[in-house]
Symmetry: C2
């Protein structure tokens, strides 16, 4: 294979498998090339990836040397992505009776969910996350993409007890939007004991769901390394969880004139 | 930028944006290179991508020339991916009382959902699909990845009527597993009129859910171009929908001795 082709193949493989460690031997065998050639190729790919602003390549030297692609989002790109979403949110046509804003289509669009996943993964890349967990339904695509970029599995918390999940662990929580006591369930087949977990949810108002999720994580012995929520309302200012990252803040006091939002990157 | 770096950058951009058409001008400006250089680069990327077996590059000649990356899965790779999933399914520990098999963790693993999405997109790549639709919950990750590879949005059908979806269109259907009449809902803000739609579901036994989804698509004026289901049980042999593609067939008669499965690629 020619050098140029090797560079394209290496770029494709690393880019498709973020946060996965590949040994140099893997590439020398796959590409039928010497180690020094692969090292040279890698230096070029490293430069190029950094030029695209989509992440960086980390290389480990030595006999057991390897290489891993870390997806990253620059502050400028993050601002641009979140602003595009915020601009859409502010359209008056998105208002739903009861003070809600329609955003299911945004989170169900691969373009947005992939970018949101990359933003979240970028923030938690250094924390050795072992599992992403989320609660059904709307946040699943973004949580799944985060799991992809962090190269970990996703654990799905259900809002009702399904026979297909087998035995479950459950906790009760107070849903802020309906002010009712509800229950959430995690299959006991998902073993989170002592696992470093990132909790993701699409929306927070009072923080009841996020609080429920952290209780459930305690219950199964997981270590919550962070809570990241995509849309968070400014009011109430007091949330049931203290430590969380919000990507987009919604000012809902002024719904008649359209929603006002502010972005993580502006905070 | 050097030629080698340009090739890496082009590979990354095309690979990250499947089924999206890029003009040559886009690359000449981004890379600050002449059109003939970009054309040469493209020929190399085209070769390399085909060598990885993950798809092919289509180029359009002429003044308005452009380039698009189509993800593809070879028959051999498809067989290997589906066999890996099937092998996991057959583990006796996956059996759940009531004759069910636990597979949530498989579909919540980005490794599997991405590959399943790529397999499905590969099958429907030539049909000009404009929307992927699925019903919550377990199939969402694979449907989302299919939508990503086809470069279209996903429409999410809900099993209960949520205030956050606004006004909805609903149909009743008979759920095969519970033999009860249920209702499914699609937000009226998702406009599928005259749209070419691919219906995806994670599991089919009698075909009630798939039938419900096609009725709902008729109701909103969409054109169903195909139904693709990940796991389908052999019995009952008669399903409520006639035309569908199953990736993995489950022989459930012999559950005591472990599940027997057969793959799409073997059919």
């Amino acid at each position: 294979m020619k050098k140029n082709e090797r560079i394209s193949v290496i770029t494709k493989i690393l880019s498709d498998h973020p946060n996965e460690v590949f040994s140099y031997n893997y590439f020398t065998e796959l590409l039928d090339a010497g180690k020094s050639s692969v090292c040279e190729d890698m230096a070029i790919v490293k430069n190029a990836i950094e030029l695209t602003g989509t992440g960086y390549i980390e290389t480990y030297a030595g006999a057991s040397g390897g290489v891993v692609y870390h997806p990253k989002v620059t502050k400028a790109e993050e601002g641009a992505i979140l602003k595009e979403i915020a601009d859409q949110l502010q359209a008056p046509s998105r208002k739903i009776q009861g003070g809600f804003v329609y955003y299911s289509d945004i989170l169900s669009n691969p373009r947005y969910s992939k970018n949101i996943g990359r933003i979240i993964a970028s923030k938690y890349d250094e924390m050795d996350i072992e599992y992403v967990v989320t609660t059904e339904t709307k946040g699943i695509p973004a949580a799944m993409e985060t799991a992809h970029y962090l190269n970990v599995p996703m654990g799905l918390i259900r809002r009702s007890n399904r026979v297909t999940e087998g035995a479950t662990t459950s906790v009760n929580y107070i849903s802020g939007s309906s002010n009712k006591i509800k229950t959430m369930y995690l299959s006991r087949r998902i073993d989170l004991k002592d696992k470093k977990v990132l909790v993701i949810d699409d929306f927070m108002k009072g923080g009841g769901t996020a609080k429920g999720m952290t209780s459930l994580m305690e219950e199964v012995g997981a270590k919550v390394m962070g809570i990241c929520v995509i849309f968070v309302t400014r009011s109430p200012a007091e949330k049931l969880v203290e430590d969380f990252t919000a990507l987009i803040w919604m000012d809902d006091e002024n719904m008649e004139a359209g929603l006002r939002v502010s972005l993580y990157s502006e905070v």
